[in-house]
């Protein structure tokens, strides 16, 4: 295997998630161009770049959500723990159970209660064991730092919570199915600063159990919470490095211009 030019520095010996030469298209538009990127287990990896740079699209290829958009096309390979998720006979549904997702806008199911929202991944699967469900709900809510705020109103509709609480509910919902990897697509962009701070705090806790890949347009956020950062520009991966290094000593001129706020 030839190492990609922009492979992580220092190299990651045993990546949990690994993208190789990923290309993504919307009809004729080439949104992601030959991106290769390895993700270290139990870390937070941030994807940054100006809007329209392909970071969100790339994120969505990692759990095969990209292909749900009409006109979308994919080329390349993504492996999860060594297994190609685009391999022959791989069911995208299976993939998404192992690689969860938290979206830009909090999207709890409006017809379900807080409790039902958290365990919906399990009840969908047909899990009926009351004790297992209760335990899972409590653990996921505690893990997403929402438990104390909602433990007395688990039957209230999920949409009755504030925006920040809704987003943590969505994180709990993703955690409940115990995926090894969770993708987050600008999870704080619709939230106020206090809610944002709580979720940033949460990221440090989360990585003890799961691997997080987060897209953000907020460089401070990436610098604060991520172990590694990848800078995307015009559909390409420009630079990928430890966050401490990328933000202090960027190797590429475009990265430097971006992090010093000269465009984007």
């Amino acid at each position: 295997m030839t190492p990609a030019t922009n492979a992580a520095k220092p190299p990651i010996p045993e990546p949990i998630l690994s993208a190789k030469d990923v290309n993504a298209y919307f009809n004729a538009f080439h949104a992601v161009r030959g991106v290769s990127l390895d993700v270290e287990p139990n870390s937070v990896t941030a994807l940054i770049g100006p809007s329209g740079c392909g970071k969100s699209t790339f994120l969505r290829t990692l759990n095969r959500l990209h292909e749900e958009i009409p006109g979308a096309r994919f080329e390349g390979e993504v492996t999860l723990e060594g297994e190609n998720i685009y391999g022959r006979g791989m069911d995208p549904v299976q993939v998404r159970r192992k690689i969860g997702m938290v979206f830009q806008k909090p999207n709890p199911f409006p017809s379900l209660s807080i409790y039902e929202n958290v365990v919906v991944g399990l009840t969908l699967a047909g899990v009926k064991d009351r004790r297992l469900l209760d335990e899972t709900a409590e653990r996921a809510l505690k893990h997403s730092a929402l438990w104390d705020e909602v433990k007395d109103k688990l039957r209230a509709p999920g949409t009755s919570l504030s925006g920040g609480q809704q987003q943590r509910l969505c994180i709990a919902r993703a955690l409940a199915v115990k995926p090894p990897v969770i993708l987050m697509d600008e999870p704080t962009s619709a939230l106020d600063p206090i809610s944002t701070a709580r979720i940033e705090e949460l990221l440090g806790e989360l990585k003890k159990e799961v691997t997080v890949v987060i897209v953000t347009h907020n460089m401070q956020q990436a610098a604060r919470c991520s172990d590694r950062t990848a800078f995307f520009f015009m559909g390409e991966l420009v630079e990928y490095d430890r966050s401490t290094r990328l933000f202090t000593n960027p190797q590429d001129k475009r990265t430097e211009q971006y992090i010093t706020g000269r465009f984007g």
Partner: protein, 322 residues
């Protein structure tokens, strides 16, 4: 901002209305109002004329008209109970078939079918609404009724004859045939609304479900169907409004017998079909009045049903833009 002149106003049609200053504009507005005023007037006149025509029957039979079933033009005694029963049974039977079918078609068109297939299937379903009622009646007499009489009814009678719905001799023509043809006729109406309701579900909901590892069907159930019930209900009500007043195909297929039977195999009569059958030949004034009274009731009911459906659908439209 209500005093802004039309020329400087940034968005003329959104501007709160002021009386036009230009004489040409004033005339134009008056002409339009005069013509469209006819629409409002007609609606009011329909109610007034129906009440006037049916007055002798209202006076004679009162509200008891609706639960007595004795309809005898010779003795000049009239009660519409059997028609109301027939209308309700045929309409709700039709809805029981058409609503699930329309939900399924709506889901297929919005969630499953590739755009081109959806366009073709959608167009064909819409065309079901364009075929004239009398053509459905003709087809029903020569195709549907024989099919029911020779195959469907004997089968139902043999295997489900213990159920009160499927008893009696298979005529072909009757409540079953009328209900089936009604189901075909209201399916496009209900499907159209279901489609809009499902389409209004935000994609973020679908992605939330898919991102959890839901299968497509689970995604449909969780993200699409669960949040659409009130819209589907509105669609059903709108379908009910159509079914209640549908006349020709039902008249040709229901058998036109003034009786109440619990079996779908029996002939019956609806409010609309009795008017179609007897109005032109009604001999006496009181007979005409009784038929007009049935018409008045049908008018009031379909008015109320449509109003209800409109309110439900309107509320959804407002929710959709939120």
């Amino acid at each position: 901002m209500s005093t802004a002149s039309p020329i400087t106003s940034p968005s003329p049609s959104r501007r709160p209305s002021t009386r036009p200053i230009n004489p040409g504009d004033r005339l134009f507005r008056r002409v339009l109002m005069g013509l469209s005023g006819v629409v409002v007037a007609v609606l009011a006149l329909i109610a007034i004329y129906l009440a006037k025509l049916s007055w002798p029957a209202i006076h004679e039979f009162g509200l008891g008209f609706f639960w007595t079933t004795d309809w005898d033009p010779v003795k000049e005694h009239f009660g519409a109970g059997a028609f109301i029963f027939g209308t309700l049974v045929s309409s709700f039977f039709a809805l029981a078939l058409a609503v699930p079918l329309s939900i399924a078609v709506g889901l297929f068109l919005t969630e499953l079918a590739p755009p081109r297939a959806a366009a073709v299937v959608g167009f064909m379903v819409e065309m079901l609404a364009a075929i004239p009622s009398v053509v459905y009646g003709l087809w029903g007499i020569f195709f549907l009724a024989p099919l029911l009489r020779l195959y469907v009814q004997p089968f139902l009678g043999r295997h489900f004859g213990w159920l009160f719905l499927f008893q009696g001799p298979p005529y072909g023509i009757g409540m079953l045939a009328a209900g089936l043809i009604l189901a075909i006729m209201v399916t496009p109406t209900i499907t159209a609304i279901c489609r809009e309701v499902f389409r209004a579900v935000p994609n973020t909901q679908r992605e939330a479900a898919l991102g959890l590892g839901a299968t497509k069907w689970e995604m449909i159930r969780l993200a699409v169907v669960k949040s659409s019930w009130s819209g589907v209900f509105g669609a059903g009500i709108l379908g009910l409004g159509r079914a209640l007043g549908e006349t020709m195909a039902v008249t040709m297929l229901i058998g036109n017998r003034n009786e109440i039977s619990t079996s779908l195999f029996s002939p019956g009569q609806t409010m609309a079909s009795v008017i179609a059958n007897e109005y032109a030949e009604a001999g006496s004034n009181i007979h005409v009045a009784a038929l007009a009274y049935v018409g008045l009731a049908l008018f009031v009911v379909s008015f109320a049903v449509n109003h209800l459906a409109r309110r439900i659908v309107k509320r959804l439209e407002m929710g959709g833009t939120r």
